[in-house]
Amino acid sequence: MCSRKYVWLPLIIFLLSACAAPAQTSSAPRTLTVMTHDSFAVSEPVIRAFEQANNVKVTILPSGDAGTALNKAILAKNNPIADVLYGVDNTFLSRALNEDIYQAYASPGLANIPNTFKLDPQNRALPVDYGDVCLNYDKAYFSSKNLAAPQSLEDLLKPEYKSLTVVENPATSSPGLAFLLATIGHFGEDKYLDYWRGLRTNDVRVVNDWNTAYYTEYTRAGGTRPIVVSYSSSPVFELIEAEQPKDGTPAPQLSEPPTAAVVSDGSCFRQIEFVGILKGTKNQDLAQKWIDFMLSPTFQEDMPLQMYVFPVNSGAKLNDTFTKYLINPQITAGVDPQAIADNREAWIQAWTEAVLR
């Protein structure tokens, strides 16, 4: 088995396959490559329908988290590895636009999208979905302690809320960064650090990712912190997940979501995700069709249960549970994307000094 001649065999095999580029004949369907972040998901029937309607084979290329995917697209600018990039959000938007990786496309689907989402007037990056990062709290905990649930960011500084909060590190977590931006938007650049110092005095716990925060520290999962930075949709998902029928056990009778989000004005940060055609693509027409598809009601309505985000298309209908229980913030804290691009590093650095060191 270990004779030397076998050394050459795998070598030859991989060299051969390396040289073999995917062949495209004119009669076979063309391929459209869509680069996305790792959380991309879509129902199979939905995408097959698109493929069949357009005689195209769609290849999805999950490329890490949003920032990593963007970086890859930037680095591969001269030799793009995909036709379309989806997943850049408003915290990365300026970086993407400044690096000039997109081609503008004014899709007809834009007509149904409220202007608040259209952060790029040139339509190089088109909005696809949004999610609001808000504080979540565990209702049962507060009722059992006879404690009033928090209603605003400022509440977290109160002494009765000491040691109750867990947040994510903005350097390593996307919702963490979103929450930091919320505080910056809410308190302003000169006051936000005071807020965080106050949180630190109140024993806020910082973890590195959302998973740890939500599935380890949150009291819902058996942890010790009943207030967590998550999404406005998380309470509804608790309900939906709980309703999944499991064999043998009756579905629990939950009349309302067991947790709630703090959605008062300015306490949440809206993350909007964008899609754009990459410059240098050879499949311009297909890429445009894909964009139209992403903005269409079919795709938009499929998103919530696949990616846990919400459609920007006002014509898309949400499922009943959402309509019933989803409470979205009216006014979210806003920070200019260019300001984010300019100050991101400094803000994170300052935050790290104030909270972690």
Binding site: D38, S43, P258
Partner: protein, 610 residues
């Protein structure tokens, strides 16, 4: 009688000889040119491999990164070297790596002894179990440790009940202790296997001779055993250190935000801040440090390796006879099980426990008075396992677990074959000569992939492998190639001490009897080092099974490996997804363990273990 000792040491053939022809030489000295050519041929495949899949992508990303700098070429370096935060990050990285390595050695060496010298019931099982941690993705390890040692974990709950405490006594997460413990958890198997198997071939008569000369067991250990074990211990320590030095997931998940190593910082700089020049500088720092260490190691190892009388295992294993021996062994195994196996059990247990949907109250209070939801206590359930096969939302990327397992096993097998195909010639080359320039150059080079930031290299792959001459993005071969990049240094490090320890006299004897070098290798080196080859193969296999970082970057979404599938489940909210992730992790553990048991039973070169 002349005092011939000045010429003494290694130039044995010059000194006066009594009673017979010169004996063993440490290195087979071939006539210069032919020897060098043979070495170069052996190194050819590994060199091509490294060139195409390491240096080329690395060069790509470094040049792209430095192209974005402001100022001259030196400015990113100056900025990094003068920054206090970079210095403190570097210091911490080294500090935690040194500490972790020492602790891992401390815990692993007694186990290596036990495995090397004794046979006891359950030995094979213990070996397989202790190898499983190596396979687990770090996100999952975080969950496992939390289930065991978190504020609501078993140990704290048990202690609280036992001593009627109101607060969990062990505050484990997000401390340096958590990082160290996780590193021990991951890497002890390296020490157990590499040192244990090498030790098992050491002639116990050397220890007996020392005892007869009056050495107590402790003295035997210090003066005879440890010096002879040094090559294997050094190799294991080097690998463990490099892993700890480049640790990423453990720091993030178990250390929390307060701790940052070089790798974490590289990630932050690259992804979050897109400061590529700085990230490149940090990656280079990491690389050079690894290179430095490896060079020191190779110098040391060459001096410390000697030809030994390697004996077959069946002559060196004994049973545990006295009560004292049995008690000590049991105590140690208990410790090992606690450190390495208990988190696995906690993980498996968590995967069959219904995640509670009500708040866990502070201990001491009853759960009356909760309005609204019915309190659902955790009960045994196989739902998460069942759910794995159900594509409830008809998600495009749904992969049934059997498919993911099949893909993982396929990639792992390919990785083993490629790593052995590259690693065995390299180890053979290293064993043939310690002084050849080819060896001294290649040895540190092949360790470089282990010390390179995965983030950086991943980006490098994207940049360079997405266009000719090597347009391989999307090729399924990329994943096992990336795995091989990490696995084959392992193979070389496992094999080289063993191959070097084979007495040249044996090879000479075979040669004189008519065996050409290849035959000599197959009939002398391979059987004597057979165990080491199996150890190496096992490592390559488990590395591939558990590899996540590179795979996530390079895998096609239709062919996910199990860690990628686990990561996907973890990225989606909902208790059901979380439970499925735990279930899939448990399956991964079971697959890893079974595979390792199978590999260890396999025979090498039709000779088995002698």
């Amino acid at each position: 009688m002349t005092a011939g000792n000045a010429a003494g040491n290694r130039a044995g053939h010059n000194a006066r000889q009594i009673d017979g022809p010169p004996g063993d030489q440490i290195a087979v000295r071939r006539s210069g040119r032919r020897g060098s050519w043979i070495l170069l041929t052996l190194w050819l495949a590994p060199l091509i491999f490294l060139g195409a899949f390491y240096f080329y992508p690395l060069a790509g990303i470094l040049s792209a990164s430095f192209a974005r700098r402001e100022g001259n070429l030196l400015s990113p370096f100056l900025a990094a070297l003068t920054s206090t935060s970079v210095r403190s990050i570097f210091a911490f990285t080294v500090y935690q790596a040194v500490l972790s390595t020492l602790l891992t050695l401390l815990i692993g060496l007694p186990g290596a002894y036990l495995i090397a010298r004794y046979d006891f019931p359950g030995k094979a099982l213990l070996r397989a179990l202790t190898g499983v941690p190596f396979v687990l993705p770090t996100l999952v390890v975080g969950a496992a440790f939390t289930a065991l040692l978190g504020p609501a974990g078993w140990i704290n709950q048990a202690l609280m009940r036992l001593f009627h405490l109101s607060q969990p006594p062990i505050d484990f997460m997000y401390t340096l202790a958590a990082i160290l413990l996780a590193h021990i958890f991951y890497n002890t198997t390296i020490v157990l296997r590499m040192v244990g198997d090498f030790w098992s071939h050491l002639d116990p008569r050397l220890g007996q001779a020392a005892e007869m000369l009056g050495a107590t067991p402790m003295q035997v250990l210090r003066k005879v055993t440890l010096p002879l074990l040094a090559p294997a211990v050094a190799a294991a320590a080097l690998l463990v250190f490099i892993f700890d030095f480049t640790s990423f997931g453990v720091i993030l998940v178990l250390g929390g935000p307060r701790f940052a190593t070089l790798e974490v910082e590289i990630y932050n700089q690259t992804v979050s801040l897109f400061n590529l020049p700085l990230a490149a500088v940090l990656a280079l720092i990491q690389l050079f440090f690894t290179l430095l260490l490896t060079i020191v190691y190779t110098r040391l190892a060459a001096r410390v390796t000697r030809p030994l009388s390697l004996r077959p295992q069946r002559f060196t294993l004994r049973r545990l006879t006295t009560i004292r021996q049995r008690l000590l062994a049991a105590a140690y195994i208990g410790l090992l099980v606690l450190l390495l196996v208990a988190p696995l059990i906690a993980l498996a247990a968590r995967s069959v426990t219904r995640v509670e949907s009500s708040t866990r109250l502070p201990p001491g209070q009853s759960d009356q008075g909760i309005t609204g939801a019915t309190a659902q206590r955790g009960g045994f359930t196989l739902d998460y396992y069942r759910e794995l096969n159900i594509n409830r939302r008809q998600s495009l990327f749904f992969t049934p677990p059997a498919t993911a397992i099949g893909i993982s096993l396929l990639y792992a097998s390919a990785t083993v074959l490629m790593s052995l195909a590259l690693g065995i010639p390299a180890a053979w080359a290293l064993a043939r000569s310690e002084t050849s320039w080819a060896n001294r150059a290649m040895d540190p080079l092949l360790m470089l992939p282990l010390g390179t930031s995965a983030v950086t290299l991943g980006l490098g792959f994207i940049i360079t492998l997405s266009h000719p001459p090597l347009n391989m993005i999307g090729s399924p071969w990329l994943v096992p190639l990336a795995h091989t990049l990490v696995a084959f240094p392992f193979v070389v490090r496992s094999l080289t001490p063993a191959l070097r320890s084979i007495r040249p006299r044996l090879r000479q004897a075979a040669a004189v009897l008519g065996a050409n070098p290849l035959r000599v290798f197959r009939s002398i080196d391979l059987p004597l080092a057979g165990r080491a080859v199996l150890v190496a193969a096992t490592f390559a296999f488990t590395i591939s099974l558990g590899e996540f970082g590179a795979t996530a970057v390079l895998a096609r979404p239709e062919y996910p490996t199990v860690p990628v599938a686990i990561y996907r489940l973890l990225g989606q909210p909902g208790a059901l997804n979380y439970g499925q992730a735990l279930a899939l992790s448990t399956i991964l553990m079971a697959v890893a363990m079974t595979s390792m048991l199978v590999i260890e039973r396999m025979r090498i070169a039709d000779v088995g273990e002698f």
